[in-house]
């Protein structure tokens, strides 16, 4: 067991405090927060960690990550994804079940959880599938998966197209108070599409995915959730109208939460030039009006959660023409620096809202223990250096894949340490 | 030396004399042939036109044509911009014609080589002769003028510029040393 550590001299922000305040944190040998107050004098036998100039944030949580294991270990593994999470400041992630085979049974949930404990530096939870094999035909063993540790269910990557089956899934999951998360689109409307349908797809001559494909599906799922009464979570909302439908359902008493990805806040279809496949994802990048509406939704609380939809693909796969390339970009290592540089630093996104959406709310929705600075809790926070920078390249990234529009860029701000219990996950090279 | 750093080699009256002498020599060489005069774009065509007018004034009936050798150059790879193509205009049958080719300056000979290549693509002339206003030497191909205005010794890197009223507003031949350039 290690020595107690005192993190001193830093400024802290959390879900209730947008403005950085002085906070020293004493973590005892068991990895629990013994004291947290503006100034703590170092005692004998305590290792002092100088946090001057750094910002302390509660550990981030990403409830939408594709780890690709089992099946596509060339794209990502639970180990590499877990390391990428730590590098990005995440102290907890939820693996999506669209692996090969899909995580649709208690046995597979246990397998993933076991691998995660062995190989990932940060805790990895997993989602189970809604339907067996994600095939949309019959329900997966929902209760069994939950018993083995699945924290939610989703067929992410595809909607449950059969409305009857989806209704039964919501009702059944409600029995176990299990969250049902939805990837919303109407397959018949999206089929063949490569990007948002509109002026940009016209200019590039690419087949479009209309916004209403997502909106119709959101509306359907929310009406079914009202009928079934369960807890529903809309994944990666990307359009202003889709968000508006969710707002109305919330006001109407539907137990719905929703998430937005950093790329849908930061990028729009206008950024797609020269057919760069690192801008191809599903839902696609929408218009700048949508981007603005999503940020407003995050600020006013209509959007509960930030989630990366980290979707690794190899260079081999992404190095295709735009229409043939797979959907998805990675996000674990780019999320915090990109949000910080584009929105936080510019005053458009306060720290407390970022932390609510990227730490407190996803943990609360999934019934997991919060990460905050409360005395008596296990240490679960990160040190962020706003004066440093993060260079995103093959040499610096932990993910096995590089499919991000930020590749090659240097973004302001850097996660310099992740404190999880008695562990320092990013090594000791502190300046 | 003029204020532009150029040395004037031939002034307007001298140019007029040279062109008249070329016309006279052509008449002397070809007392009774029917001729076709072909000028290379741009200033070769001007020179050609002037000789054509002189011949016509002396009652000689000749044909006139222009040649754009852009598509026959051998240095396309090195050009950052391509010359605008104006096209060639040969309104007489090239087959069997007595052709006199005109250019303003004879230098490496590559332009003339290109012009010869192009002419024979229109047909098989009976004979082609060459008339130039200035021969500045440094030939890279075995080409020599049949009618010459003036031979001027130059350095390889010198720049010789011919100006005509029709294209440049005044007549003159100028030489620029690279060292004299601003």
């Amino acid at each position: 067991m290690s020595r107690p550590r005192l993190f001193h001299g830093g400024l802290a922000v959390d879900a209730d405090h947008a403005a950085p305040r002085r906070l020293d944190i004493l973590v005892n040998a068991e990895g629990k927060i013994e004291r947290a107050s503006p100034e703590i004098k170092p005692a004998a036998g305590v290792e002092a960690v100088d946090c001057t100039g750094k910002i302390l944030l509660p550990g981030l949580f990403d409830m939408h990550v594709h780890l690709r294991e089992p099946g596509r270990e060339d794209e990502e593994t639970i180990g590499s994804g877990g390391r990428a999470a730590a590098r990005g400041g995440f102290t907890g992630i939820v693996a999506m079940p669209n692996t090969d085979p899909p995580i649709d049974s208690g046995g597979l949930v246990r397998y993933v959880r076991t691998l995660a404990r062995e190989q990932s530096p940060v805790p990895v939870w997993t989602s189970g599938c809604i339907t067996k094999g994600r095939a949309g035909r019959q329900l997966a063993d929902i209760a069994d998966m939950q018993q083995q540790g699945a924290v939610m269910i989703t067929d992410d990557g595809d909607p449950v197209a059969d409305a009857y089956l989806f209704r039964r899934a919501l009702e059944y999951a409600r029995h176990f108070d299990l969250l049902v998360a939805c990837h919303c689109e109407v397959p018949e409307l999206s089929r063949g599409g490569a990007m948002n349908e509109g002026a940009r797809s016209y200019r590039l001559g690419l087949p479009g995915i209309p916004a209403c494909s997502e909106e119709i599906s959101i509306a359907r799922d929310l009406q079914l959730a009202r009928l079934a009464g369960g807890r529903i979570h809309i994944q990666h909302v990307s359009t202003a109208r889709g968000l508006e439908i969710i707002r109305r359902a919330k006001a109407d008493g539907v137990r719905v939460t929703c998430e937005v990805s950093p790329h849908h806040l930061l990028l729009s279809e206008d950024d797609i030039t020269d057919y760069d496949t690192n801008f191809k994802m599903n839902p696609p990048l929408r218009t700048v009006e949508d981007t603005g509406a999503l940020l407003d939704g995050l600020l006013d609380g209509s959007i509960d959660v930030l989630a990366t939809d980290h979707a690794p693909h190899t260079e081999f796969e992404k190095n295709l023409d735009f229409a043939s390339a797979p959907f998805g970009i990675i996000g674990l290592e780019t999320a915090l620096p990109s949000l910080f540089s584009r929105l936080v630093r510019t005053g458009r996104l306060p720290w407390d809202i970022l932390i609510r959406a990227f730490s407190r709310e996803p943990r609360r929705i999934l019934g997991l223990e919060a990460a905050d600075f409360a005395e008596g809790r296990p240490a679960d926070f990160i040190l962020f250096d706003p004066e440093s920078s993060t260079h995103l390249s093959a040499d610096t990234m932990e993910s096995k894949s590089r499919n991000t529009p930020f590749i090659g860029q240097t973004l302001p701000g850097a996660v310099v340490q992740v404190v999880l219990g008695a562990e320092l996950l990013l090594g000791r090279k502190q300046s | 030396m003029s204020e532009t750093g150029e040395i004037s080699l031939l002034a307007a009256p001298a140019i007029r004399d040279k062109i008249e002498r070329i016309a006279a020599q052509i008449i002397e060489t070809h007392p009774d042939h029917s001729l076709a005069l072909v000028g290379i774009h741009t200033r070769g065509a001007v020179l050609c036109r002037r000789v054509f007018d002189l011949l016509r004034a002396r009652g000689r009936n000749t044909s006139f044509g222009t040649l754009d050798i852009a598509l026959y150059r051998d240095d396309l790879d090195n050009l950052g911009t391509i010359p605008s193509i104006r096209g060639s205009d040969l309104s007489f049958p090239v087959q069997g014609a007595q052709i006199i080719l005109f250019d303003d300056v004879l230098f490496t000979g590559r332009t003339i080589r290109a012009a010869l290549d192009e002419l024979v693509d229109y047909g098989r002339p009976a004979r082609i002769e060459l008339a130039v206003l200035v021969d500045r030497g440094h030939r890279e191909l075995p080409i020599a003028p049949d009618y010459l205005g003036q031979s001027i010794p130059t350095l390889r890197q010198d720049h010789v510029r011919v100006c005509f009223r029709e294209t440049d507003g005044r007549d003159g031949v100028f030489l620029t040393h690279p060292a004299a350039q601003p």
Binding site: G205, N319 | I82, S84, E118
Partner: protein, 324 residues
């Protein structure tokens, strides 16, 4: 003499949208002398002697390929045709493999056609060869647009202020996108007439849409450009039947007579579906420009090949030097 400075040469021609109007005009002006060459006894010029042009067609097209082949040969280039069917190459990685293979053969120009938008751009990024887009998905067909603009100029002179009406399957048409763009850049007015199912969303708002053919004729277009209708569109519910399509959206005999009275020029990128887009008689009409479009395609493509400049080929890689 009109000696406007020639625009800087480009490596690739991928679409019309990225061309400045001056570049378009320059290419149209240059196409003229190329066309004049066709009347000479020797139709060839040595401009591209020693260069190799690869026709890389992932989608079958005998006409466009032949047009590029003749254009390249009249510039004295060597031409290689490579037709690759979709079944043997469906993934881009194989496209890259193909491009790499061709690169080792030191190809100077690649003429690329593919069913997916963006493939020529993708290839252009991976080769020093000059790449010409010969049609990619619904994106662009720039040489078609250039030859059409050339043909229109040849027919009426200055195009600014002239009107072109594009009719038919606009949605699945790269020709529509490129021709409307070139028309816009040459300050023409653009009208469209098509079933609503075949009008792409996101189109620019300078296009004036008409509800009936008769209404469109009242607009007095100088040119009517009929787009080819793929018969299989019927199966995807874009319109109920070819008969109904022709009746409502085709150039029927009656409408053709109205066009003839007004001297409207008729164009079509070919091949024509007789009895669908137009009636037979159109093809013998004095202002039918369809055959001229084909002829002018060669001159326009010669102008493009002549203008483009392949990048400096990188040094031969080490493998080759070791091997030799």
């Amino acid at each position: 003499m009109n000696t406007v400075a020639a625009p800087a040469r480009r490596k690739d021609l991928l679409d019309i949208e990225s061309l400045a109007p001056e570049e378009i005009v320059f290419l149209l002006d240059s196409a003229r002398p190329f066309k004049d060459l066709f009347d000479r006894s020797v139709k060839k010029v040595p401009a591209l002697r020693g260069k190799t042009v690869l026709n890389l067609f992932f989608e079958p097209s005998t006409r466009t390929r032949a047009s590029f082949e003749i254009a390249a040969k009249r510039l004295s280039a060597d031409v290689t045709n490579l037709a690759i069917t979709q079944s043997s190459v469906s993934k881009g990685e194989s496209i890259l493999d193909t491009v790499d293979t061709m690169q080792s053969m030191k190809v100077d120009y690649m003429v690329v056609r593919h069913a997916a938008a963006g493939v020529p751009a993708f290839i252009a990024r991976h080769t020093p060869a000059a790449v010409i887009n010969a049609g990619d998905g619904n994106h662009a067909h720039p040489t078609q647009a250039l030859l059409d603009a050339f043909t229109m100029r040849e027919a009426v002179g200055e195009l600014a202020g002239r009107r072109i009406l594009l009719v038919g399957d606009l949605l699945h048409s790269r020709v529509f996108r490129s021709v409307s763009t070139v028309a816009r850049k040459l300050e023409m007015e653009v009208g469209i007439f098509a079933p609503t199912t075949l009008i792409p969303s996101g189109r620019p708002d300078y296009m004036q849409a008409f509800n009936t053919f008769e209404e469109a004729l009242e607009w007095s277009p100088d040119f009517i450009y009929l787009l080819r209708l793929q018969r299989e569109r019927q199966a995807a519910h874009f319109f109920p039947s070819l008969r109904e399509y022709h009746h409502v959206f085709g150039l029927t005999r009656e409408r053709f007579l109205a066009c003839r009275r007004r001297g409207i020029r008729i164009m079509h990128p070919g091949p024509v579906n007789r009895g669908v887009e137009l009636v037979d008689e159109v093809l013998t009409y004095e202002h039918c420009l369809i055959n001229r479009q084909v002829e002018n395609g060669i001159a326009a493509r010669m102008a493009v090949l002549y203008w483009l400049q392949p990048a400096v080929t990188p040094l031969p890689d080490d493998k080759e030097e070791v091997a030799s």
